[in-house]
């Protein structure tokens, strides 16, 4: 580990002799996502060994899909949390955008892409409003977005019932342009993994849905933004010390509003992904998931107080959630155990994160 580091800039920046080579290892261990990576690996091994289906390609398809759509949301929520804010309306946003698209396609016979665009616009406006209210009133975002959450939840149900006399939208395969929409959000590739030694015949097909590719893209972009751009610098700054950030000229209002809009955008993306995969959307879609996103982000190393965390970590948190929620089913246990498990993970992660933070801030 210490010798394999390629160092093209080594001649310009000679290593300080006081930084021992062990510091490289220590630095890796201090990364926010390390804990989640270790936990994810342990869980993967556990379920692979104790259940018959978990490690089979056909069985893995399920939890990979679940983990993917949660990873998209968790990544966006993690960025927002690093920026020092929460968004409890993130889950309801999935339902709201899905319903908007679904109703426009079925009830009004509009083109799929028009409906998708309208839902995107709605999401961005709602995200902007979240940010605007939080920044203008100075209220905690926890309260403001709790309000948005209830409004969305109520409107989702009431408006849907008003418009179509039921609480879910289905059968919109006939809508104009549906196939192209499905290619974008609902398609999948099948990969034959029969050559792997442990795979049984008949279960060798791994189905990778579009959501997984989107998730990988979102995590890469988010990591790039966080670590390599000015905006990423600002995210850490507004979450870590808002007053200081303002003093040195960071546009705090802009940064936070963009973060709220990013979360709403992710809600729209997941809304589309679930709409086109399942070809159905219910008024309650996404409701109750907002805390799971936050837990994924925290398990991935985000501090609840802001200013610290990683996008990869949040995605790993989502992977843990995906594996556990499906692994418990394969074990034949009651699926409600997932919540108990999540609670334990959350508490453990918060304790570890706070310890890391204390170490990072301690005088040396």
């Amino acid at each position: 580990m210490t010798t394999t580091v390629p160092a093209p800039e080594a001649p310009e920046t000679p290593q300080d002799e006081r930084v021992s080579s062990r510091a490289g290892t220590a630095k890796v261990l201090r990364r926010p996502e390390v804990g989640a990576a270790v936990a994810a690996l342990a869980i993967l091994i556990f379920f692979s060994l104790t259940t018959a289906s978990f490690a089979q390609p056909s069985g893995a398809s399920t939890w990979i899909f679940t983990a993917s759509s949660f990873a998209i949301m968790a990544t966006a929520v993690a960025l927002l949390m690093i920026g020092g804010e929460f968004d409890l309306s993130a889950g309801a946003m999935i339902g709201a955008t899905g319903l908007t698209t679904g109703i426009m396609m079925t009830e009004y016979g509009l083109n799929v892409w028009v409906s998708i665009g309208a839902a995107l616009l709605l999401a961005l406006v709602l995200g902007f409003l979240n940010g605007l209210i939080v920044m203008r009133t100075g209220l905690p975002s926890f309260i403001v977005t709790l309000g948005t959450f209830f409004v969305l939840r109520g409107v989702d149900l009431a408006v849907t019932k008003q418009l179509i006399n039921q609480v879910s939208v289905t059968s919109f395969q006939r809508a104009d342009g549906f196939t192209s929409g499905q290619q974008f959000f609902g398609s999948f590739v099948k990969i034959d993994l029969g050559w792997l030694p442990w795979v049984d015949t008949g279960r060798q097909t791994l189905t990778v849905y579009a959501a997984t590719f989107w998730a990988v893209g979102v995590v890469i972009v988010a990591t790039w933004v966080l670590l390599r751009t000015r905006f990423g610098n600002w995210i850490f700054a507004v979450g870590g010390a808002q007053t200081s950030a303002r003093q040195v000229g960071v546009p705090v209002f802009f940064t936070k509003v963009i973060l709220f809009m990013t979360t709403a955008f992710a809600g729209w993306l997941v809304g589309m992904l679930s709409l086109f995969k399942t070809t159905t959307v219910q008024s309650t879609t996404g409701v109750g998931q907002e805390f799971i996103f936050i837990i994924c982000a925290v398990v991935g190393g985000c501090l609840l107080t802001g200013g610290y965390g990683s996008a990869v970590g949040a995605a790993l948190g989502a992977l843990i959630y995906g594996m556990v929620s499906q692994g418990i089913v394969y074990e034949g246990w009651d699926s409600d155990w997932v919540y108990a498990f999540l609670g334990v993970m959350l508490l453990g992660a918060v304790v570890v994160n706070n310890w890391v933070k204390a170490r990072a801030e301690a005088l040396r």
């Binding site: 920046t13 930084v19 700054a237 870590g240 003093q247 000229g249 990072a360 040396r364």
Partner: protein
């Protein structure tokens, strides 16, 4: 890095008449690193160049500030010169904060004159002060504890390369500049990647000072930089103040400790209950006098007597005397 270039530039500008004719004296440093514009709030990169050492940058004459009928500050006269340290001394509530807030542009003065580069000024915002290269390092230092040193150094004025969606932070450049700028201030960091929260109080002060210097400050206002520090850390900060002075900056050093002010100060201005007690060049002042004036002269003497009486001859004082005696013998032997 532009130690030699800037004074020359200043001289040239002085010859062509007025260092504030609106033409932009672009700092070379900022050219090559292309610090983006719109680094709003951050010290302006197009501040006028540094004048010659010893030349007056700021001159305040009988300046004062009143809030309605409450007079917070009156009749304060002093000057700040390039390459010199002006110390503002005063006890709590003496009006130090009001004074620096006027200089930093946070408050407008209500009487007297405030002259920068020979032109009368009335600042309406800190931005106006920054545009003239007057930067303030407040006690909280405006740093984000969990962020690495180099990210803090460039926060709000990040250096980027590439364009469009590939526009990204120029991390090697920023790390290098951070390291070399801190080295120029006499601080040698193990690793600019460590969170700034892990630095000592003195080192954090240094980063804040170095940052202001790098982003074009000509006058540095330091608000009680030694107040929360121990003896040793205070010494470290005094060293950085001297380093900034030696780079040709004008420094305003606010403190209530004459022992910190005297070693670095070229000029001392004392405030007491909102009034100036006088403005003295170092040549007219000894440390004893400074301490006496700060403490209110006779009051301190009375206190001294009182304390003496309460320290009767004891084991401890005898052992002290012995120790001092042996030290003196040792010195004679050398």
């Amino acid at each position: 890095m532009t130690d030699q270039a800037t004074p020359q530039e200043g001289r040239r500008r002085a010859e062509t008449g007025g260092a504030d004719d609106g033409t932009v004296a672009v700092d070379e440093r900022n050219d090559e690193t292309s610090v983006p514009e719109g680094a709003a709030g951050g010290p302006a990169s197009n501040a006028p160049a540094l004048p010659k050492r010893g030349e007056v940058i700021i001159e305040v004459d009988e300046i004062g500030k009143s809030y309605g009928s409450v007079i917070a500050l009156r009749d304060v006269t002093t000057s700040v010169r390039a390459g010199e340290v002006t110390c503002v001394l005063g006890d709590n509530g003496a009006g130090k904060s009001t004074f620096i807030k006027i200089l930093a542009g946070a408050h407008e003065h209500t009487s007297g004159s405030f002259v920068v580069d020979g032109i009368k000024r009335q600042f309406s915002s800190p931005r106006a002060a920054l545009a003239l290269g007057i930067a303030t390092v407040y006690q909280d230092l405006a740093v984000v504890p969990l962020m690495p040193v180099w990210r803090n150094f460039f926060l709000g004025s990040e250096v980027t390369k590439g364009w469009g969606p590939l526009r990204r932070l120029d991390i090697p450049t920023m790390k290098e500049i951070t390291k070399s700028e801190l080295a120029a201030m006499g601080i040698d960091l193990r690793d600019v990647d460590q969170p700034i929260g892990t630095l000592s109080g003195g080192e954090r002060q240094c980063v804040a000072i170095a940052r202001a210097v790098y982003f074009g400050a000509r006058v540095l206002i330091l608000d009680e930089p030694t107040a929360a520090l121990g003896v040793r850390q205070s010494g470290v900060v005094l060293k950085y103040i001297a380093a900034a002075r030696d780079r040709g900056l004008g420094v305003i050093f606010i403190t209530h400790n004459p022992h910190h002010a005297y070693p670095v100060g070229d000029r001392f201005m004392m405030l007491r209950r909102g009034r100036s007690m006088g403005d003295f060049p170092r040549a007219e002042m000894t440390l004893d006098e400074l301490v006496r004036m700060m403490a209110g002269g006779t009051e301190l003497e009375a206190l001294g007597h009182e304390l003496q009486r309460e320290m009767p001859e004891s084991e401890m004082s005898r052992s002290f005397e012995q120790e001092i005696g042996s030290l003196e013998q040792g010195r004679e032997r050398d």
